[in-house]
Amino acid sequence: MNSLLSIQSFGIVFATVLLYYLLNAKLRVYLLIVLSGYFYYTLAGPLLLIIQYAVILFSYFVSKNILVIDKKYVTSIYYLTIVVAFIPLLFFKYVYSYLPAIAVNSWMANWVFLPLGISYYTFMIVGFVCDVYNRKLKSVPGLDYYTCFISFFPLTLSGPIERTDNFLHQLLTVKQFKSENLEIGLKWILWGCFMKFVLADRIGIYIDTIYKTLDQHSGITMIFTMLLYPFQVYGDLGGYTLIVRGVSKLMGFDILENFRQPFFAQSVTEFWRRWHISLIQWLRDYLFTPVSFYLRKYGIYGTVTAIYITFILSGVWHDFQWKYVLWGVFHASLLTLELLVLKKSFNSKIAKEKSGKWYTLAVKFCIVYILFAISQLFVRVEDMDELKTVFSHLYRGGALFIDKTNLFYAFLAISVIVLRDLIIEFKWAPRFPRQHIAFKVAEIVFLVFSILLFGCITNSSFIYFNF
């Protein structure tokens, strides 16, 4: 996994980008297919690559030849295709990791290096199949473009979960080299590395230390750790997403935004429009909408049931553990509460509220942040026993555990990221001459030096690769 962020990886990426612009449109697609296949093979192993191609071929054949027909039997085939597409994900997520070590070691080790990325390409395949069946996609593209779309190497390991209406048509148009794409792409990659190496990994060292020695810590340390963790996840997945978007931008592709200043949400409902957006929109379109549509005759009860089903399944997607079920129930309950009690106030114009008193906004941001931090406790603990330990320690006296070096770097990174998000959220750009060449150079120099001086570059891996 470390190889993804190595100098060699970046070297391969830049060589690919160079070659990409030298080739004609058709050959570019094949270059991306071959490179994506090689990339997935080296990280996940030959069996997973074969499975990925098998699901791609199967879903393509059904979509191209059967789902476009207007016959009643097509609906059964449509549901069957979705079930088949999910089989590898269900097997590797819920069966493979529980197989006896002897079975895994004997032959599978040569075939499966790590069960990575299955969720993300499965979601994209299911999205494509649904879009073809629902006639959202006007025509089915060629197999080469479809394979390129599903296996596109920057998206393989942790998304964002791309959509046919955003990314597929971009593959079909020829991209000309533009210096602004190079500039934006490099800047996003640097910001992504900053979020990962300085923000996420520095916080990670502190939090890992606490969880390794859980019995020795006070209540105040537990609360502090809980409040710090959302920034680690934001740095980790948000940083990864920016690197992915940056690499794609170098080739002229605009990949979906996955985070939109998430800690400036005024309600939990709004938070979920800003956090892990590609997953939430996928769940909304392909799970929540069908379920709530079929339950619509039950009115508000049907909607609430659909919210609970969506969030519990979203939780269980991380892993089949009770802590994730609790996570889902927690968020579904918050959303239901907002829907039933606070809906009226939420419906009032968000833009108008944004210009309201700063302290009212600050209080709202803090409440949403704290609620999210509490929910992330379920994600961070190993199991329910550890969760009980954390809760039992909340009332324990004692001083706050301080790790001066890592916390100093972490808070430096938090300040930078909060300021950056603040500027974007409240459109303060005119006050900061971001287009001025001196500002651009200063931004890049700051990022490069911060990553090299304060970053934790060795031993880096991403949290969401596990899902």
Binding site: Y133, N134, R135, P290, K297, I307, K344, F346, N347
Partner: protein, 79 residues
């Protein structure tokens, strides 16, 4: 049923769901109306089905990029 009558009924439904006066136009989309999220969308669909005594399919939901397309669908179903 005439398009004008459908638009008037939709104005009432939209105003009721979003709890403020909304005038619908053909080009109106979910991005233009504050609070038009997936939950309110389902409330809209249910209210429209009830008012016009029609039934949408899940496929229909994907054929409504804007209010104009929604009106076309309603017209096709009521005639």
């Amino acid at each position: 049923m005439e398009k004008e009558k459908i638009v008037n009924i939709l104005n009432e439904i939209f105003s009721e769901v979003f709890q403020r006066d909304i005038v619908v136009t053909d080009s109106l989309t979910a991005n233009d109306v504050d609070g038009w999220d997936s939950i309110n969308h389902m409330f809209l669909i249910t209210a429209i089905e009830k008012k016009f005594n029609i039934k949408f399919s899940l496929r229909d939901l994907n054929r409504m990029p804007d209010v104009g397309a929604l009106i076309e669908l309603i017209l096709a179903k009521v005639q």
